[in-house]
């Protein structure tokens, strides 16, 4: 065991930090400047290491530590380096893994530059955890797919150029085998976006209605009827989106709140009950951090099989820890917990600066156990794949 990165990586970190300092001096960056910042970062090999140059990546040798250092430093700088999770995080790796060559050339460079924004068409009102029961359909008419149906929980739909999604193309096949993975343009007749106001009053999600929406026959990823397998590749990337230092930042926000809140005329951080709850949470946050370190180390050293079990637990553990932080924060704001979240809280997710930001976190953290694979589905996965328990009553996939 050796927790030092060594002089080579420390030098790399210093170089990255110098780069972020230069750009931070001009923050906040305009849309164009932000794109330029990402271009410069890509030229230096900080971004898109695993993506070939011909698609706009920096095509560097695999190095999990360099990737981690860049993520840590860029996150700490607050610079706009993370583009929409659906694009860079999901469709790009999926196309790289199983897309056609022309699809990669057409879609990846614009996505990496931030010119193309993507949304995801998976969930439907009748297909949540049982996603494969989805009913939105596409039928081939000449050289076009004609799409009808209804998707829900579509983030960024209004800002998107493209959608990737799952549609039923083989109505007579068994449910998992009847789905195809299609790409389509968002801005077209027959496609209607309706914002969905969520429990905290914010609008991050949408419903999308399809009424004879069209997309070219070859805008399909994988073969007809293989959409479920493609989505599994894709979801693998969705589960990898979490970072290591994020939880510590949330927790630090909570500590700051405890320092400025008062209980019985004293700072809450001096209150024994609060101290105990914070210290208990410190344990959970340390677990998140050290588990991340284990996974990073295993990935870098080609020993990923050694961390297959904690990887199954990332989503559930992260969700639960976030919720604990939000709930303690809500307790610390005291009577101000009677207030509704303010407009500004809804714009900045996880605003730790205002009391009503914590009211919003209390509400927003309700999404964690539901979104992107519910906690109960995670428990099934952990029980079955992790502990070898028998599958329960579900149709075979």
């Amino acid at each position: 065991m050796d927790l030092s990165f060594g002089p080579e990586y420390e030098a790399y970190r210093a170089e990255v930090r110098e780069f972020t300092a230069e750009w931070s001096a001009h923050a906040p960056l305009s849309h164009e400047r932000a794109a330029e910042f990402r271009d410069r970062a890509t030229e230096r090999g900080y971004l898109y290491r695993g993506i070939p140059k011909r698609y706009g990546g920096s095509e560097r040798e695999f190095d999990a530590f360099r990737e981690a250092i860049v993520a840590e430093e860029f996150d700490a700088s607050g610079l706009p380096w993370r583009l929409g999770a659906q694009g860079v995080g999901m469709i790009v790796p999926t196309l790289l893994e199983i897309g056609e060559e022309w699809q990669r050339e057409k879609f990846i460079p614009g996505t990496l530059r931030g010119d193309y924004v993507w949304c995801q068409g998976y969930s439907e009102p009748g297909a949540g955890s049982d996603l494969a029961s989805l009913r939105s359909s596409a039928r081939l008419e000449g050289d076009e797919w004609v799409i009808n149906g209804h998707k829900i929980w579509t983030s960024d739909a209004q800002d998107s150029n493209y959608m990737f999604g799952m549609f039923r193309t083989e109505p007579d096949a068994p449910k998992h085998a009847g789905i195809s993975y299609l790409l389509l343009e968002v801005d077209q007749p027959g496609l209607e976006i309706r914002p969905l106001r969520q429990i905290d009053g914010a609008v991050h999600f949408n419903e999308v209605f399809f009424d004879d929406v069209r997309t070219p026959a070859d805008w399909i990823v994988g073969k007809r009827g293989q959409g479920w397998q493609v989505a599994r590749v894709n979801l693998k990337y969705e589960r990898n989106l979490g970072g290591g230092s994020m939880m510590r930042r949330h927790f630090n926000g909570l500590l700051e709140l405890a320092r400025r809140s008062e209980i019985d005329g004293r700072p809450a951080i001096q209150d024994p009950v609060t101290r105990r709850r914070l210290a208990e949470l410190e344990g959970y946050v340390r677990c998140v951090e050290t588990t991340y370190m284990r996974q990073l180390s295993a990935t870098a050293n080609g020993e990923e099989q050694k961390v297959s079990l904690p990887i199954l637990m990332n989503k559930l553990y992260g969700t639960d820890t976030r919720e604990k932080i939000a709930r303690l924060g809500y307790d610390l704001v005291g009577s101000d917990g009677l207030r509704a979240p303010a407009e500004e809280d809804l714009k900045i997710q996880s605003n730790t600066e205002t009391v009503t930001g914590w009211v919003d976190q209390y509400l927003f953290s309700l999404a964690g156990p539901i979104a992107a694979g519910s906690s109960n589905i995670q428990r099934n996965i952990i029980g079955e794949r992790g502990l070898g328990l028998p599958r329960d009553l579900r149709s075979p996939s």
Partner: protein, 359 residues
Amino acid sequence: MHFGLTEEQELLQQTIREFAASELPAPKLRALFDEGSGHDPGLWAKSAEIGLAGLTVPESYGGAGLELLDLALAFEVLGESALPGPYLGHALAALAIAEGGSEDQKQRWLPRLASGEAIGTVALAERNNVWECADWRVEFRDGALAGEKEFVPYAQLADLTLVGTVGGGLAVLERDAEGSRVDAVDGVDRTRALGRLELTGARAEALPAPPGTAERVLDAGRVLLAADSFGGAWKLIETTAEYTRTREQFGTPIAQFQSVKHMLADAATEIEPARGLFWYAAYAWERLPEESPRAAATAKAHLTDRAADVSRTCVELHGGIGFTWECDVQFWVKRAMFNRTFLGAPSAQLERVADLGGW
């Protein structure tokens, strides 16, 4: 950067696992548990032969010269196997002498401890939940000890006992010294015996220990208890998963029911991500001394508490049989109780986490 185990460390765990499987089959563990002394001289001797008695003792004194992480990994397997014996007190006594003994003291005691020929222990606790060295009241004056120590592991068996004294000192008391009296305590965990030590002028020899030595011994102990808890909790999760795969009710293995599956998944998710806590705390004890006390307190508070929770869940999942004396689950329930309480309960550790964090 490598935050994982080396092949040697994995081999070390494998060796102890195989040792426990061959030398401590379930009926033997059961017999030892029922007999209640927490000790089997043959088992101790054999474990010493594979090096368990001297893992961290420097090679020049006959030990394996390993680090606290290696010892913690060994303790993970001890927890898994619920191996009865004086390992904890022994390991801490050896660490105390190695860290704080004079050259002469090291030469006199460490080789005998490393070989397992002599058994060591530590007398730390005092009445009213005292564990921290700042609160120790046993007096050491003119070479003699006076006062009382509680919950001393294997007090009746130990050849030498490191006694914590006023001001955080450590003094070595040899077995059957005049002016010392040992009473057995009927402990809840029958895999680890406890005794009470009454000192009325017993002759002892102080370690010239540099300031902070006693704190480091306590920190090391907390790391080892966290590791033991991790091993025990994971073992319980695995055996309980196996039980639910075979136990049938309503015509099907109960593991098929989501209520059961989800309880196990939650239990596993409380424990597995905490593995890094004891790894990190053990690493910090050797390499990042300024972080060590807080890391040890965090690991101790979190892991021993979570393991206790999980042990209760596993009893529940066993149903009625889980509540009986004949069910082996109780070994780990009680080991978890010991780990949770010994060297200071989670509540006390959490207060230290807050203090040491500058909160």
